[in-house]
Symmetry: C2
Subunit: 248 residues, 2 copies
Amino acid sequence: MKQNIYDNNTFFEKYKELRAREHNYNNLLEQPNFFTLIPTLQNKVVLDIGCGMGDFAAYCVTQGAKHVTGFDISSNMIANAKKRHIHEGLTFERSAFEDVTVSEGTIDFVSSSLAFHYIADYQLLIKKISKALCEEGVLLFSIEHPIVTANKGKESWITNEEGNLLHFAVDNYQYEGLRTQNWIVDNVIMYHRTMSTILNTLIENGLQIEKVIEPIPAKEAVCNLPSLDKEFRRPSFVIIRAKKIVNK
Amino acid sequence: MKQNIYDNNTFFEKYKELRAREHNYNNLLEQPNFFTLIPTLQNKVVLDIGCGMGDFAAYCVTQGAKHVTGFDISSNMIANAKKRHIHEGLTFERSAFEDVTVSEGTIDFVSSSLAFHYIADYQLLIKKISKALCEEGVLLFSIEHPIVTANKGKESWITNEEGNLLHFAVDNYQYEGLRTQNWIVDNVIMYHRTMSTILNTLIENGLQIEKVIEPIPAKEAVCNLPSLDKEFRRPSFVIIRAKKIVNK
């Protein structure tokens, strides 16, 4: 069964609180970098995987996208998305993308922000995305960095007796698969994959890598959220843009 | 001035000793993976950057390469290469590849094993390689993994009081540039780059990424060299194959 942590109401309320904060890792670190890689959206057909409360899907419509479908496995998320964003170019669907049927070669842009590390079968996911994309179609996604997911749930930042951070602990890097962590609530499930698996799976499915970003916060962001200075010591996220190539 | 540690005679003698061991990281971990990505060599013009004692250059000739030029900045290495391998299809040259002039689009295959982390200007290096490669030409190189180079010269494996390895220490990941380490002798210079810099520089220079390997040792290799079991906990190397694409 797929984990559906966002339908745990304790989790969901605390998550909304976290995301509502003006200064968080999403809007100061991940999103500014993610946005630099968005392709032209005018008249495009878009899928957003793990759409959450639908803000990115709605943004795509404001940028001229013809139609955007947002998928999320959480009914809490989809209910919020439908309430927040009403537009004829927008559809929100409570489904895991792995279970959905999409016509081959019909999608111009597939986006996903910090959702792929919750999906167990990455091979199947990328295969389905590649099949859905038209020629020259773009996949843009962000995920937790393998440096961070490798030893998730175990030691991360090591401190000395005074509580100063000494370094970040990496371990179990080559053992891919399930990790559990305590984030907001206990035992949130996610999946670790190596950088090579993340990249090679794209390539093997006809997706040519165009850009890889390991985000660094802007100076101003660190002023607003000082804990972001840790991002210079190890990357939290990786953002990848790839283009569908059809071999002729 | 470019570092030329292999012309330090103490270093060179100890290095030769290390490489002469039947079981080492090169022949049990890096080389077996590197070899899986070598393109067809029949009639190909090849450059080997950081050719060392010339064994790989000589191998290419045995596989039908038309001509192989090996570059190394160490006169010790080039002297050894010339002594070990005499063949009309082989040239060894004591030069930094960055300083060499190569005719545009004349090379089929550029290889480099564990040398790029010694080169200060990676941008220039990749630009020159891309220019030298013909259309569909292949670059194959291995380097120390950014996880390892990030905090090089400082803490690496953290142990408990009993001497057991607890985890690998990552720090300073986003600070690219010079690192010094004590390997065989003191103060060997190398350069850290992030994974995104390594990959994006290829892409920006028209080199399409075909495969990324973070090598894992075979079971038999771990039997022969038990310290290789650490490779499951963090990768030592990354091996990348890329293909020159000419936009028409």
